[in-house]
Amino acid sequence: MALEELYRDVILDHYRNPRHRRPLDAPDRRAEGVNPLCGDEVTVELKLDGDTVSDVAVHGQGCSISQSSASMMSEAIKGKTRAEIAALAERFHAMMTAEDESAAGLDPARPGAVLGDLEALQGVRRYPVRIKCAALAWTTLEEALGPAS
């Protein structure tokens, strides 16, 4: 696979201009995720309004895959309910572990793809050692959200 399939412009854009990377006043939830093997770090802060993530901030350092994934995730989850976020996470996981596009139900050309910019990360699944980079933001989000009260 061509490297351009992995490092799509949208990924480099999120890496260079990460969204929601600013302090969040009195977050309701916070979690830090670290990938000890490669040193990627992602911190997720959440404001909750009932079951809805009303605001989000992400911080961290690491490779373009881990940091762009966190940035894209922040856009995808803002304003969503727990149930909606769980569905997104499941879809993201399916995309990372799919054998091919059809198995993931993905069609890169399809407009209005469910994951939005995140679908640009589908090339990562062909680089097994990098999947954990892409997944770090999501496992950290899961920890921040914790079990539903």
């Binding site: 490297l3 351009e4 992995l6 490092y7 480099l12 260079r16 093997l37 490669c38 040193g39 990627d40 350092q61 690491g62 490779c63 373009s64 895959i65 940091q67 680089y127 990098r130 980079c133």
Partner: protein, 407 residues
Amino acid sequence: MPLLDTSAIRADFPVFEDRSLHFLDSAASSQKPRQVIETMAEFAAHGYANVNRGAYRLSVSATERFEAARDRVAAFLGAHSRDEIVFVRGATTGINLLAHGWGSLRLRPDDRIVLTEMEHHANLVPWQMLARRTGARLEFIPLGDDYRLDLSHLDRLIDPDTKIVAVTGMSNVLGTVPQLDTILAAARSVGAFSIVDGAQLVPHQPVDVSRLGADALVFSAHKMCGPTGIGVLWARPERLEELDPIEYGGDMISTVTLRTATWAPIPHRFEAGTPPIIEAIGLEAAIDYVEKIGREAIADHDAELTRYALDALAGVPELRIHGPADTESRGGVISFTMADIHPHDLATILDQHGVAVRAGHHCAKPLMEIMSVPATARASFYLYNTKEDIDALVEALRDAGELFGVI
């Protein structure tokens, strides 16, 4: 300086049948020549039995082979006797053995353990834990702006309270070869137990323990064309006699009753259980291989490739080298970063060009913090590497720079 005959050497390494592979990660672990692979396979097939159980011929001959491997290591290091050679799992295990077996009972609160700022975690964390157990304090010889150790305050760092001085023989991140003579002399002057982490040094440069001036040296076979699972702790015999075993069981005892036991003589008291027998035969074959080529010649080869690489990398825009800029007192390990491209992204892109490098903190996180980088990419050279490997690295780096729009 002449390069080695790499076409003949590469023919010894089956992995290079893949001609697209540019393997630049020998500082993590080296590739294995046919001579090592075949010697181990032949011994496992026709010469193998457990050692030190000499009731039958096969065990007697296996024991003789195993102890002959110990003799080979002793000669390789310039040790006086096979009794100074302890087979361990690797350099890490050797250092842990020293920290537990010597340090735990001897260190007192406020004693000093002196290390450097460029140690691998293997020569840092065992001492942190020893300090925690005993109340001893850690002190660090600092790294200067030139990526070499700053020895200007050495006499204050290594003071009469210093009981242990443990220093790398070659940084696995920077390539820096420290001024061992000066540091070890300071350790001797206060009677400290001095230890050299030879994981990077021993595979690449001649080391003679009779002239090194250290009390102990550790290294791993797998970075020197040998197998995983075996390494060596060499120590002066009087130091080994001071060392308590930290693993107990078969093979390491002299007599055992239901309630007591006494230890076998050195070095066997440190080798509880069935040792890595096939691996020891492999280590011996690796030493034969390295010695046939010659450690001076390998060091020259590393230096020539390092010089070539430093020149070539200087021509890559946005590339920054983290390590000494010249080849003086440095080995064939080059860490680098490129603009804002994370080293993991660099490594992935390089991999697509067949160029295998390490990316990350290289088990030296504190050093990364001192250098104010989260991680680096690292290329490291060994006897099978060529200038073509470095050309491929440079071309791949240019591609990475273009893909990320930084050049």
